[in-house]
Symmetry: C2
Subunit: 198 residues, 2 copies
DNA sequence: GTCTATAGGCAGATAGAC
DNA sequence: GTCTATCTGCCTATAGAC
């Protein structure tokens, strides 16, 4: 599936910065943290990302690109609306399972301290999520498979908020039982409930 | 309702720090910010709250005390489970209407950077919320007023996560239409839907 | 591309005068 | 209680050698 090409330094910086932002927030992450973990000097980081704003911008761009690529893959692999919603929830679950918060959820909490550009990019991430979910839910309602009484758009915003909030409130607890239970409830409200054991 | 007693300096520090944490996060708030807004020097703040950990501790303690006092007032004023849940959602809506995130929701995102004590206090805030909601939902189910198919505890965690997430994802947008629509959907899923126009 | 060295500012925190 | 003055450390960022 993926080649064994060695990651570039820029990629490795992004990997570390991403983990730090997802666990500590933008204002809890520093060039010093990254440099220490990567084993190079702070100054060298500025060669790849001159300013912290540049780094955050690259972080959002890469995260969004990969995230929406996953949604494309869900669209390709599944026609069933309920299964696609379950796949969506599993993307979030996978992030939490690695001990992280959604990057853009984290940035939403740091919103007031972001550059105007980054603010726009975070809002756009949520907008595109809502659009994808609205489309899937509308498909399911048309088929008669989903039973949400609400407008697809309201249902989409509710699912997005519920999953972001589930990640947030699950942070103080170990494991993902809490998240899984909430995700199951949210999906059940749309008539997309997973099997009892899953 | 309230006396006109002048607020103490400690209270005014907490007021400003609370707003800063709710809008910028713990790591986006500094003693310098507070001092500038209050019109005193940084050093004077340390007389009231020797360390930042002390300040954060006091912030959580006061916020939780006031928050649960509001829930007590809801219990006193309403016996109707659906109305109590709507009252709960309105508490969150009131916070967002002032342009803020729930203090403990914000601290949940900064969780990894908090002192062990503060971590415990944030977790306890969520636990007590879940207990209150579980109790109200169980009451409503017993009465036959609420129609949640799920366990009261799952429904409680889902509502809590949904409202916290709704505040989070609403931050990039002005106004509270988004939050209100999500809150209405979450309540509707429990059979506690507000009137269409409210 | 990575290094050393350093700038300039802000962080939380303390001592001691008033 | 609030002040001035100061400390130490960390922050982002730059200059210039290698």
């Amino acid at each position: 599936m993926s080649s064994t090409t060695t990651a570039t330094t820029a990629d490795r910086i992004l990997d570390i910065a991403e983990e730090l932002v997802q666990t500590r927030g933008v204002n809890g992450m520093s060039y010093a943290d990254i440099a220490a973990r990567l084993g190079i000097r702070k100054a060298s980081l500025h060669y790849h990302f001159p300013s912290k704003a540049d780094l955050v911008h690259a972080l959002i761009e890469r995260y969004a690109r990969r995230f929406f690529a996953q949604l494309d893959r869900i669209d390709d692999g599944e026609t069933d609306a309920a299964a696609r919603l379950r796949g969506y929830a599993e993307v979030y679950g996978g992030v939490l399972a690695r001990g992280r918060m959604c990057l853009c959820g984290m940035l939403a909490s740091d919103y007031a301290t972001l550059s105007p550009d980054a603010q726009t990019e975070v809002a756009r991430f949520f907008d595109k999520n809502t659009e994808w979910l609205s489309r899937v839910i509308a498909d399911g309602v048309r088929d008669g498979q989903l039973t949400g009484a609400a407008e697809p758009r309201d249902a989409a915003e509710t699912l997005l908020a519920g999953l972001e909030g589930a990640m947030l409130v699950s942070r103080p607890y170990q494991g993902s039982q809490r998240f899984d239970a909430i995700a199951a409830s949210l999906l059940a409200a749309l008539g997309a409930a997973p099997r009892a054991g899953a």
